[in-house]
Amino acid sequence: MASMDMDRREFLQQMAAWSAGVAVPVLLMPNAFANVPLETPVLIVARGKDYAQLVASAITKLGGIGKFVQPNAKVVVKPNIGWDRKPEHAANTHPDVVKAIVKLCLDARAGSVQVFDRSCNDARRCYTNSGILDAVHSLNDPRATCPYVEDRHFVPVKIDRGKVVTEWDFHKDAVAADCYINVPVAKHHGLSKLTLGMKNVMGVIGGSRGKIHQQIGQKLAELNTVIRPKLTVIDATRILLRHGPQGGKIEDVKVLDTVIVSTDPVAADAYATTLFGMKPEEIESTVAAHQLGLGEMDLNKVKIIEV
């Protein structure tokens, strides 16, 4: 409990100290670090119509939610709620997927489960029309909340491993979470080709996000050195093939009824890329994240379990 009660400054100090310590070996031997994973990453691919069931069985297969969420933990579930679109438009994470994850966390006796995203359209419209606000509220548990992201939530964080981005504002609760669960939706994106787990970090950073759009792959990977999800759940129940990331047209949506779950964010992105008929190395952020040692992008080195 003591570690949970530490204040922001203390946390940032500790984090800076921790990152600085890691930065040294990483700078000295980046490739060695990346190429020697401690264990083979596991990736669960679950297919089916009952999305809540998909999420539950995939996480069970990975060892159960209790492995990631300790009792009383502060959990942040980060879906994509970026757009004022309905669930069927595939622009936001499916509410059923979000709800299932939140429910698992609550059942694991999490202290609090916050679901939020810094949206692109009006936050209230996004939260409402994505169906996520209602989904979380329908659990009727005071521990599960859907707070709106405000300026006051952001704190500057030094990115010690960053070469292109060395400092940025991050959502303090995302940084301080005991368990951060990344729940992106897989969809097309003009600039980065696809938006997956790595790009979902855009929803917990402050500042002018347009300034991330130059060398976006590298910048996203560097931002992801700050926010390290314990679990990545990629929603590919339906994917947006064109006109992303906003979408808006049902004809651009393909229903796949698939959910990808992994503790390795890079492996999850790499696998999701194949659903679009693309190769993992086509996505710059995947390559950059792999080079930074954030995970494995070679799917041959990943243990893929289908459920």
């Binding site: 003009g190 906003q246 808006g248």
Partner: protein, 601 residues
């Protein structure tokens, strides 16, 4: 009413009869209730989780007869949703000027302010001498002002210079609250809470309990900032400052809505009796000097046109003589009105002649002579011409970047109907709607314009059309709104990163909400700043798809002015070719070199 405690200590006068109905308490309750309703509706003037607003947040505008009359005159059309104003007109003809005393939220705030002000006012009285009272020479001189304003405004409205909103009390108050008070309240309250939260102390427990309530219920959803905030605030502050000169100074001498309901009140059969100050009690003529509306002139005659039925004189009368009662309208040719011209108001000796019936209104309690009426009518007809001649900046056409809310249509028609109430600016979820200063000429002051760099037009949002009391912004259904073009996006290739600097970007394309996107890109091989050959996406606009929502201009990552800007559809810029995707084709294959082409603007 402050005299009541003093007088009640005196021996009970013999003529006192049964306890009168507590009309004054009822009036106070109604005032507070309606002020509460006004403020609640003001707070509810935001998106609240549904496309349609649950409350008729523009209710106070819809019961406002002045706004309704002006809008109908200006638009030359019957606006059916303004029917509640007719109810107020009917009730005013029946009851008199109750709107000012019982309903008007500005009036209630002035009454409340007066209570705060009493000590200050006592001081002011000492400095300036007597407060402004009816009957003093200069009070008589300014008395016709509100009638002049009313006549001017209605004529202006009819001939195309809608000024009603500037001085209409509901508009004045809503604007002041929207532009100034609400953002200031949000800033100060949220900063206070944040500071409290940042430092632990004895307050932490309580603060954690009340902070969510304050944030969710009492504060607006987000901070908004408006141009002209200080102007709107000063206008409102001036109304309150005038209270220093006398109670309800604004209502008595300036308010055009007060003038309008006052004129209607002439017909009301509900009258105070006796229709003059009486001399039956020890505090003779108290009802005259204490009347907040100055409804008794220097000679003591009562004018129903000024009385706002506050019921003070009835409640404070310790003889029970003063009361309000329905009387059959006297059968006379003209309207029985006391005369107050200086030539006739000679003093107590002539009091008997005061309430004599007069013929066609020549001069009355309002001090408005026929000549004054005719002069203001003439001025009303002349001023718009002068203003048009003095129009700032405007020569032939409006500015290309002057964007109106979705569906606003023809600029002139829009400006005629718009009452500048600020409701649309209050409700706009992105803060993109801003008051125009002089971009639309002098007569466009405070009219709403979309400033995409501040906030874009949210695709599926129809709130501005829902709150507009006069339908200057039409209430479009969502399906229609999403295809209603506000303007057209134009990319400045001299500034746009992929065009001008060979840098990656296309934030505009990413955010474009139209499907298929109105911003498309073309992949080109270029050499970047470091000499590497890279693939780059260069955006351009498909004019036929663009609805000018401005999210592209809003999200463009350049500092300061955006590299993509929305222009009016009727502007010259909208008709110039930007590149290969312009309306009417344009040559394919020559897109690449366009970025360097100068002199296009």
């Amino acid at each position: 009413m402050e005299q009541s405690s003093a007088t009640s200590a005196m021996p009970k006068p013999p003529i006192r009869r049964r306890r009168a109905f507590p009309w004054r308490s009822l009036r106070r309750a109604a005032q507070l209730l309606l002020l509460g309703l006004f403020l609640w509706l003001f707070r509810r003037t935001e998106y609240a989780g549904a496309d349609e607003l649950a409350q008729p947040v523009n209710f106070f505008f819809r019961i406002d007869p002045l706004i309704s009359a002006a809008a109908v005159l200006a638009g030359r059309t019957i606006i059916s949703t303004l029917w509640p104003a007719l109810v107020i007109v009917g009730l005013t003809i029946l009851l008199g000027r109750f709107f000012c005393g019982w309903v008007c939220p500005l009036g209630t705030l002035l009454d409340l302010f007066h209570r705060l002000l009493r000590p200050i006012q006592r001081l002011a009285r000492r400095i300036t001498g007597r407060p402004v009272r009816p009957g003093t020479p200069w009070a008589n001189a300014i008395r016709p002002t509100r009638h002049v304003l009313l006549i001017l405004m209605l004529i202006f409205a009819a001939i195309g210079l809608p000024l009603v909103g500037y001085l209409d009390p509901i508009g004045l108050l809503t604007r002041g609250l929207t532009f100034g008070v609400d953002p200031a309240w949000h800033q100060s309250a949220s900063r206070l809470i944040e500071t409290g939260e940042a430092h632990a102390g004895w307050w932490t427990g309580t603060l954690n309990k009340i902070a969510p309530f304050v944030r969710d219920r009492l504060l607006p959803f987000q901070h908004k900032a408006f141009g002209l905030a200080s102007v709107a605030m000063w206008m409102l502050a001036a109304v309150f400052a005038l209270e220093l000169l006398g109670r309800r100074f604004w209502c008595r001498y300036l308010c055009p809505l007060g003038s309008m309901v006052g004129v209607l009140a002439w017909f009301s059969p509900l009258r105070r009796v006796p229709e003059r100050t009486c001399t039956k009690c020890a505090n003779a003529s108290d009802c005259g000097t204490e009347c907040r509306m100055g409804a008794f002139d220097a000679s003591g005659s009562f004018s129903p046109e000024a009385c706002n039925l506050c019921m003070d004189c009835q409640a404070d009368c310790n003889t029970g003589i003063a009361r309000f009662t329905f009387r059959r309208r006297p059968k006379r040719r003209g309207i029985a009105l006391p005369v107050t011209d200086s030539s006739q108001a000679l003093g107590p000796g002539t009091a008997g002649a005061m309430s004599r019936p007069i013929g066609p209104v020549k001069s009355n309690a309002s001090g408005m002579s026929r000549r004054a009426v005719l002069t203001s009518v003439a001025a009303g007809l002349a001023v718009p011409a002068v203003v048009k001649a003095a129009r700032l900046g405007g020569t032939k056409s409006v500015q290309a970047t002057l964007l109106r809310p979705p569906g606003a249509g023809d600029e002139k028609h829009f400006l005629n109907l718009c009452i500048r109430c600020g409701e649309c600016l209050k409700v706009c979820p992105t803060n993109g709607l801003q008051p125009a200063a002089f971009e639309a000429g002098v007569e466009g002051l405070f009219s709403p314009r979309l400033v995409p760099r501040t906030g874009y037009c949210e695709l599926n949002c129809t709130l501005c059309g829902q709150v507009c009391p006069t339908h200057a912004i039409p209430a479009l259904p969502v399906e229609e709104k999403v295809t209603t073009a506000i303007g057209l996006a134009i990319i400045d290739r001299e500034k746009c990163l992929p065009w001008a600097k060979n840098e990656e970007c296309i934030c505009c394309e990413e955010h474009c909400p139209v499907s298929d996107k109105a911003i498309v890109y073309k992949e080109v091989r270029v050499t970047d700043a470091t000499g590497n050959s890279i693939t780059l996406q260069r955006p351009s606009v498909v004019a036929d798809r663009c609805i000018g929502c401005g999210i592209c201009e809003n999200k463009c990552p350049l500092d300061g002015e955006s590299a993509i800007r929305i222009v009016r559809l009727d502007s010259a810029q909208a008709k110039e070719p930007e590149g290969e995707h312009r309306r009417g084709g344009g040559g394919g294959g020559r897109g690449m070199g366009m970025g360097r082409g100068r002199g296009r603007q």
